[in-house]
């Protein structure tokens, strides 16, 4: 066997780690400046299933082809998955999300919930006489 005396840590590694951490931390800081969201979009199987307002406190079920997938709760401007039929419960563990652009993902059930800003997107088209 050759080359076994390989270094673990050197000056190159130090600078590399510094740069990586700096980039990642600034990325996180920038993404956290985002304001509170007003709506949440629920995608099931890649399609928009429902858009809910976060102002209201509500509890509702998500179904796909009549099969119950999960229970979602909105409260005080936040949204969470309260209960889910999936195995790993990652979506439930995510907990509450409230800021613009955050998301809850459940791959087994193919559900994504993400938050959206206050501005209503303008329409794509207008129908008129």
């Amino acid at each position: 066997m050759r080359n076994l005396s390989s270094k673990i840590f050197s000056r190159t590694d130090f600078w590399f780690l510094t740069i990586v951490c700096a980039v990642l931390l600034s990325w996180i800081v920038i993404s956290n400046i985002s304001p509170h969201a007003s709506k949440a979009v629920i995608l099931v199987h890649g399609k928009i299933y429902k858009v809910v307002s976060l102002d209201k406190n509500a509890l509702f079920n998500i179904k796909w082809k009549d099969i119950h997938l999960m229970t979602v709760q909105t409260k005080n401007g936040s949204i969470r998955v309260k209960e889910s039929t999936c195995k790993n419960k990652i979506c439930v563990r995510t907990g509450w999300i409230s800021k613009d652009g955050q998301s809850i993902v459940c791959v087994p059930n193919r559900v994504i919930i993400y938050t959206k800003g206050a501005k209503q997107a303008p329409y794509d088209l207008m129908t008129y006489q």
């Binding site: 399609k47 858009v51 303008p122 207008m126 006489q129």
Partner: protein, 337 residues
Amino acid sequence: MRKTRVVILSIFTLALVGVVLVTVILKRPPQYYIQQGIAFGTDVKFAYATKKRNAKIVVDAMFDELKKLDNIFNPYREKSELYKLNHSNGKWMKVDPRLFNVLKYSTDFSKETNGEFDPTLGKVVVLWGFNTDDPNKWRLPQPSEISGALKHTGYKYVEFKGNKVRLLNGVWIDLGAIAKGYAVDVLLKMAKMNDPSSSGYVDIGGDIGIIGPKYGNQPWKIGIRNPRGTINDAIAHVYLYKGTIATSGDYERFIIKNGKRYYHIFDPKTGYSPNNFESITTISTSGILSDAFGTAAMVGGMEKTQKWSKGLGVAYLIVDEKGHVETNSLWKNYEEP
């Protein structure tokens, strides 16, 4: 030796990353080829995306097709099929099969609505001047003129035999209530024939048909123009994955005389415009149905509209004369994405 190995490895790694990126980019939302213009006497806008990479060719063909349709269906363009038919003096005339089919559809729809929808009001439309875009020619006719023009109307005077049509009693056909919707259907068919999984929309003067969902899986968000608002003022929104949507209203071609509004849709019984709704927006699987239904509803009023919509499966949003919004249960399916 070592250097070449490193170079080969780097190239290999870069190629792998490249392949991952390319597959990711290829799966990205399709890019729409969008073209706007004036055709069919109105503003037209198409958005089209297809994997076959011929979007521009198809959209150009769609514009050409609109020109051809205008040459058939525009009764006020000399040399058009419909102009010739209107001036055929009651003789049997062999017409373009497309005109034949639309005429047949119109008269069938007239029967279905007990004549509230009537494609034979050409002479009434001309009398009021609403056949032109020029507001200076729009006028309030004398009651005697109107009753005179009304004598030459009636969908029963359109007769069919084989592939021929004749117009009796001097009626003039005006398909303004239905031609845009028919054109939407024709163009949707073209787009889907080119590529059944293509996506986009056709918008012919506010009559919209969906070719396929936005980016393949999202609905198109469509605003419904506020009949008493500005051009960009929407009174409601709907989300469409497919189907067609059309609006009839009293706010584009109208005159106000003595505080009363007269516009381009007429009650076949009176020759005056009805006062039921400010506008009605309809959603159905067929553009021609969405379009015709709106005109019939403007004339028929609330009760008949409710009845017809159940039979025909049309979703509607009505803005009535007081500005109140009324929708039917089918409409609810489109209110959320």
